[in-house]
């Protein structure tokens, strides 16, 4: 379905249907027209579409789809559950999670390492930007709105979370997470060797949502900031060391001077 410098099939379909943002569509069409077999591929696609509709009529397909849906509905009703009960059952995990959240929500912990005392950059810098400190926010996406999570909240595989930061005057930052399987995931910057430029004030969401996987125990997000650019590799190396240690759920990253870190943990 793909080859170097050739419009992939999935994109060819979007071009044929016109279902791309206008600028993307125009650019994609231009590239396709420049490919030796571009116009012929598009023509073949359209011919195949016409042949399909001729061979499998819309009326025939619609009847079959509706019949399958009815059969599926009948099969689903076999246990004699009411629609209300079926829908309510789906909410049980959410309600259970909320109950646990109420019961087990821990107190906000200090970032100070209990054994060695403050780590470089933690708890020793003057607060900036009208008394604010850098902060990481995590919102769990729900059907009709976001749930603002507290540090230590319970979460599960499949939960979709949206990360946001408050830079509190810092100009550059890195956001990554460490999980119970020992994986390190870099959330921002998405590419490049240097820390991302931050909006120094206000709350800013990262692009895209992040879906938790089935790594056990926890997913711990770190927000590392500074007032000048710094290398991402240094942070990733520190994160990998932490991820491989038994103190990963609680210990801070071991970072060079001049960097500030905050963390936010979701328990699983």
């Amino acid at each position: 379905m793909t080859s170097p410098r050739r419009t992939p099939d999935w994109l060819l379909e979007r071009i044929a249907l016109g279902e791309l943002p206008p600028e993307e569509l125009a650019a994609a069409r231009t590239r396709l027209e420049q490919e030796p077999d571009g116009p012929s591929r598009l023509a073949a696609l359209k011919a195949d579409s016409a042949a399909t509709l001729e061979r499998l009529s819309p009326e025939q397909v619609t009847r079959e789809v509706e019949a399958r849906l009815r059969r599926a509905s009948v099969e689903k009703k076999a246990p004699a559950r009411s629609p209300w009960f079926t829908s309510a059952l789906g909410l049980v995990p959410v309600l259970a999670a909320l109950a646990l959240f109420v019961v087990v929500q821990p107190d906000s912990g200090t970032l100070e390492d209990p054994v060695t005392g403050p780590v470089a950059g933690l708890g020793t810098e003057t607060t900036r930007s009208k008394g604010l400190s850098p902060k990481l926010e995590v919102h769990r996406q729900q059907g009709r709105g976001d749930e603002v999570l507290a540090d230590g909240a319970l979460a599960a595989a499949g939960d979709v979370v949206q990360l946001a930061y408050v830079a509190a005057g810092r100009t550059h930052g890195v956001i990554l997470s460490v999980d119970g399987r020992g994986s390190v995931t870099l959330h921002t910057p998405e590419q490049g060797a240097e820390a991302a430029a931050l909006a120094p004030s206000g709350t800013h969401r990262l692009a895209g949502a992040y879906e938790l996987d089935d790594a056990p125990g926890f997913e711990r997000f770190f927000f590392i900031t500074a007032e000048q650019p710094f290398a991402v590799d240094t942070i990733l190396e520190a994160a990998r060391k932490l991820a491989a240690s038994p103190e990963a759920p609680t210990a801070p990253l071991s970072l060079p001077e001049g960097l500030t870190q905050v963390s936010f943990t979701l328990q699983k």
Binding site: T2, W10, L53, V65, E66, L69, L91, P93, G158
Partner: protein, 161 residues
């Protein structure tokens, strides 16, 4: 049903059939799967508010076909087919969480399994950014899923060797 199935089929049916045909490599099975794709579209029609129909149908078709390919015993036709079969055979416990499936339907969200993400990126050739946009996740989340699945695929290749 709020969706006009016939109208959607007229516009998108051939695209869906081509997708199923590519993944299943069997015309009869592809036609059968195509019908199921439109059944699933009716179930997940809430997701249409956030995704273009062609994008959503591409994903649903991928999921439907991968589920049918699990445990398939056939010789791959080419490199792409081999990769699809390998991806389909990986264990993906997320897609079997029935309660989550119900929640996804309640909230109009189509689940994004790791196998689906792998096909979009490794077979279809979507960039990480395109894949992330396609499934509505962050690039970091997609990258993590791919990393986990890639290690599984490598293990499968070692076993096959």
């Amino acid at each position: 049903m709020s969706i006009d199935v016939e109208a959607y089929y007229r516009r998108y049916g051939p695209q869906v059939l081509r997708r199923c045909r590519f993944l299943l490599r069997d015309e009869e099975k592809a036609v059968d799967a195509m019908h199921d794709v439109f059944v699933q579209l009716l179930r997940y029609q809430g997701a249409l508010k956030d995704a273009a129909p062609s994008s959503l149908l591409h994903r649903i078709a991928t999921t439907v076909c991968l589920n049918r390919l699990r445990g398939a015993k056939r010789r791959p036709e080419d490199r792409e087919d081999e990769l699809v079969l390998q991806i389909a055979s990986t264990d993906d416990t997320e897609s079997r969480a029935s309660a989550r499936g119900m929640l996804d339907r309640l909230f109009g969200r189509v689940p994004a399994s790791s196998r689906d993400i792998a096909v979009l990126h490794l077979v279809d050739g979507m960039t990480l950014e395109e894949t992330a946009r396609e499934v509505g996740l962050s690039v970091s989340g997609v990258r993590k899923r791919l990393r986990a699945l890639t290690s599984v695929l490598q293990e499968l290749e070692l076993e096959a060797a």
